[in-house]
């Protein structure tokens, strides 16, 4: 699915595209592009788990975040934890006790709004893997310029110039925030206007995934 918007104003997202099931080995895979930002995600599982990592009452969810270049460090671990916690909230891990679910996220290109792209891509890959989930999620990044204008889905240049960058993840049932991650300084009022601006598009994204599913069996 490609949702191109005619007017590329500030309160619009860049063109988005997603493809599922493009890798043959993993149980689920997806690539997600937001403008030039592109991420590919593979999901393995539920599969056997190492005894040391085994949980009695739920599946062990692991996220590996691979940057485009270089070796992963603390900031990658931070992203991993953020995405893992987000996934644990939506995946019904209790249905697969003592098994493992592995999510590998490979950044292909970062042109801004990387975190939201990763979350969206992961959600689509989980969907492709057919893992039981309580709902879907949609992530939207926005940036606050120095004048206080909100730019949705900013490019890396816009991120650099921004006063603050905020990323939200909404769930599809009640559209409530399940993850919020922010950089920079902003007022509480600005926070809420960002939430509202993002929520509007999070809602659109949440409605669309079925259209993107291309793996319909006959």
């Amino acid at each position: 699915m490609t949702s191109q918007r005619a007017d590329c104003g500030n309160l619009e997202l860049r063109s988005q595209s997603c493809e599922q099931n493009l890798l043959s080995r993993p149980d689920g895979s997806a690539t997600y592009c937001q403008g030039d930002t592109s991420v590919i995600v593979a999901v393995y599982g539920p599969a056997e788990v190492k005894q040391s990592k085994e949980f009695l009452d739920k599946a062990t969810l692991e996220v590996i975040f691979k940057p485009k270049v270089g070796i992963p460090g603390c900031s990658e671990k931070f992203q991993e934890r953020l995405i893992r916690n987000t996934c644990e909230t939506i995946v019904l891990t209790a249905l697969h006790p003592r098994s493992s679910i592995n999510i590998i996220i490979q950044v292909m290109h970062n042109a801004g709004s990387l975190l939201s792209c990763c979350v969206n891509s992961t959600c689509m890959a989980l969907l492709d893997a057919g893992l039981p989930m309580s709902c879907l999620v949609a992530a939207v990044t926005c940036s606050l310029s120095c004048d206080g204008d909100i730019i949705l889905d900013p490019t890396s240049q816009q991120e650099k110039e921004a006063k603050a960058i905020l990323t939200f993840v909404f769930e599809s049932r009640d559209n409530e925030i399940i993850t919020s991650n922010t950089h920079g300084i902003y007022s509480i009022k600005q926070y809420y206007s960002c939430v509202e601006a993002c929520r509007k598009y999070g809602f659109v994204s949440c409605q669309s995934p079925l259209g993107t599913t291309n793996t319909v069996e006959q």
Binding site: D128, L136, E171, T215, E217
Partner: protein, 291 residues
Amino acid sequence: MAVDIRLPRKRKRGELTSEPRGLVSPGDVITSDTGFMRGHGTYMEDDKLHASVAGVVERVNKLICVQPLKTRYNGEVGDVVVGRITEVGQKRWRVDTNSRLNSILMLSSVNLPGGELRRRSAEDELMMRQYLSEGDLISAEVQSVFSDGALSLHTRSLKYGKLGQGILLKVSPSLVKRRKTHFHNLPCGASVILGNNGYIWISPTVENESSDTAGGFIQNLEPVSEDERGVIARLRNCILGLAEHRLMLYDTSVLYTYETSTKYEIHELLKPDVMEEVIHLARLKLEQEGT
């Protein structure tokens, strides 16, 4: 040597003749009627039944399930599977059958050389690796499903057992149509085992059925003729093409595709546009037949 170079092809979306009805995504409310029973792929919250996977809603009387679009193999008793031995353990082999947990083949559920009614001795336990060792491929039937979803297999029939020469293909399990038999000696000169678990085995047809004393543990290692290998390679391409285009796999579909493909060289089938045409023709043929 000429090298065939082509531009990246925009993948064709599966031409959906009609949007399947009852398509849901996780979190969608299926019903708020409490009179229904909760099946696979659903969960209950606030007295409402929600979907937990993306898929198609199926209703059997009072039971509501969501059949996921794509899943690992969920075994059922009686299924024919192709698997690979991953571990030799105490009185059992562990087998990878593309399901969530490794399957188990008990020493007591195989036919050992020397007849069906032989007692299993301690020696047999030590000999286990001689019968089947890590990496060997087998065909087997699902005997029972454990409470945690793991499968117990058996090979207590002459048609099951260790696989000899041939090639293994892995496709989505949902593409394999359930039939009476999954063993086919195709008229083109090769045998196919369409495992319910999405593992497909293609091998040259063996003329004379081997005597039962071997118990299915002896591999025929005689060289396979080039013709036979050509047939196998063509079958492989056809089956992968069918899977790529999301057509169900069963003897007729495989055979028709094989037949329509004969006007091309085997290697030409690797080109996506050629394959697309072959599949299209095969599909038309299938629709004509009304199967």
